[in-house]
């Protein structure tokens, strides 16, 4: 018999932000809980281009330090992970982040800023949720590449062989998770922020199946009215822009160099919208994660993984070598929120006792397993991906006053 939280589960909601690593956002939390695989007190460093140590420090700023945008294309990430070693027996050292960032501005002092991470009190929303619910020590971006190919894994369980930002018009070999749920009589929706922000990666779905899309305001309304679909995927606001009513909308995606605080507010808004409806709160699991690390430092080497069955050619990787989709990308924050999760759950990551590795293919894997059941037409990576609903273990729901409340100013 499943635990009561799983028995009551009716909705899965995923909020995917942009371009920040686990250590960058949450690296200070191990000072509060040693089980968290962060940076505090470890004196971890990269060498800069003059050979001096650039130590990771809790000095990240909300805005202004990561301009220009750090490199997060395949070859740049290869440098960050392997520190320029291109030999066959190379080892991932996570030693090339500063050198990689130096290439953007050729300013040694500025390149060292890539090692900065947030002190927990500077990012209270994500830090609080990480301490209150389930924090994954070992959730990685799906490939060491940029936004779109990583987001593709969360929608399709594969990037169809892409490691870059090219347009995806995938074959029908593997359907999106939205199509799968629809075919099974379930409901699913991608909520983009507004028409000026729109959606990333799934333009093909938008073009042919716009019924799968809604706006963030519709998400808020659906939460209030109790009309949320079985599965929801939320996209942040990708630009600073003025909406048709003349209101200035600050980007909430946290993509450098957008203000991280507005992303904090978005996370809190999503959490509040779900918690604000008691029936929804007890029947929803909310996953908060980031598509990829965006070039910011993380100290955990990405592990090997089940090959995806596709091969990216050297012309696409720009490393002189093909990529077999047999290694994950850099680690990103991931937090699972539900009143059925024990407070301060830490899911062990790489090398820990009870190690569990997750990646973005874990999203369609979990959603499909739960709402559709066994389905063979899925990528090898998705079939091998870990699922996460077993974390809803409590026999009794946590009381409302035992879970955080955010008040937005």
């Amino acid at each position: 018999m499943p635990p009561p939280g799983l028995d009551k589960l009716k909705h899965i909601v995923v909020l995917m932000l942009e371009n920040r690593s686990f250590d960058h956002m949450l690296g200070g939390l191990n000072a509060q809980d040693a089980r968290i695989d962060g940076l505090a007190g470890k004196n971890l460093f990269n060498l800069d281009t003059t050979g001096k140590r650039a130590t990771a420090k809790p000095s990240a700023a909300y805005q202004g330090q990561l301009d220009p945008d750090p490199n997060h294309h395949f070859a740049g990430i290869d440098l960050q992970i392997f520190d320029g070693d291109t030999t066959n027996g190379r080892v991932a050292t996570m030693g090339g982040f500063v050198k990689s960032y130096f290439e953007e501005r050729h300013d040694v002092k500025h390149s060292r800023l890539i090692m900065n991470y947030f002190a927990p009190q500077k990012v209270p929303v994500i830090s609080t949720l990480a301490r209150e619910f389930a924090l994954f020590n070992g959730w990685f971006s799906s490939i060491p590449g940029p936004t779109l190919c990583n987001r593709a894994f969360s929608h399709y369980g594969t990037s169809f062989g892409h490691v870059d930002m090219t347009i995806f018009y995938p074959n029908t070999q593997f359907k999106s998770v939205y199509q799968r749920l629809d075919a099974a009589g379930k409901t699913a929706k991608i909520y983009y922020f507004d028409a000026q922000s729109s959606t990333m990666e799934v333009v093909n779905l938008l073009q042919h199946q716009p019924q799968f899309f809604g706006t963030f305001q519709q998400f808020l309304d659906d939460c209030q009215l109790g009309t949320l679909p079985d599965y929801s995927f939320i996209e942040p606001n990708y630009t600073d822009h003025t909406d048709p009513n003349g209101t200035l909308r600050i980007a909430s995606d946290q993509h450098p160099d957008h203000d991280v605080r507005e992303g904090e507010r978005l996370i809190a808004s999503v959490y509040n919208a779900i918690k604000g409806n008691p029936a929804l709160w007890e029947s929803t699991a909310l996953l908060i994660t980031y598509d990829e690390h965006g070039g910011t430092y993380d100290h955990v080497p990405p592990p090997a993984c089940t090959p995806d069955g596709f091969v990216a050619q050297p012309a696409d990787t720009h490393t002189g070598k093909p990529f077999l989709f047999d290694r994950l990308g850099v680690r990103v924050p991931a937090i699972l929120v539900s009143p059925w999760i024990p407070k301060a759950t830490v899911v062990p990551g790489v090398g820990a006792v009870g190690e569990r590795i997750f990646e973005h293919a874990s999203i369609p894997a979990t959603v499909t397993d739960y709402f559709v059941g066994p389905l063979d037409e899925r990528s090898p990576r998705e079939k091998a991906a870990s699922t996460f609903l077993d974390l809803l273990t409590l026999n009794q729901k946590r009381a409302d006053n035992d879970t955080p409340t955010f008040i937005l100013g």
Binding site: S198, Y238, T239, T242, L248
Partner: protein
């Protein structure tokens, strides 16, 4: 459990004249590709450069409208044969000055009294 108050993001963070990221340019490229009929896609030339985030956002909205109109049309054909012109760069969308004092501050507030959310 303590209640956590989250302050508004300061208005000075807003900068719609920021140069758009490659991510936004790629997003626009995808939407442009999608609104055109297949035959036109092969000859698609790069549109003039998008200069600001505000312009990128306006372009995305423009293309979204075309894409959804095309879907709604009975024939389900792309609504356009060529891409529309880029939205202009709005001069009024200037980033507010970082620090001002006294009377200058009051004037600045009057001039840019739109809500920030």
């Amino acid at each position: 459990m303590a209640v956590i108050k989250i302050k508004k993001t300061p208005r000075s963070s807003y900068n719609d004249r920021r140069k758009p990221s490659q991510l936004l340019l790629d997003q626009i490229g995808h939407l442009e590709w999608a609104v055109l009929p297949a035959a036109k896609r092969r000859t698609l030339r790069k549109t003039p450069p998008i200069k600001t985030e505000a312009q990128a956002a306006a372009r995305v909205a423009q293309l979204m409208a075309l894409l959804l109109e095309a879907k709604e049309s009975a024939a389900k054909k792309p609504a356009v044969q060529t891409l529309p012109k880029l939205p202009p760069v709005k001069k009024a969308a200037r980033r507010p000055a970082a620090k001002k004092t006294g009377a200058a501050k009051k004037v600045a507030r009057k001039k840019t009294s739109r809500k920030v959310r």
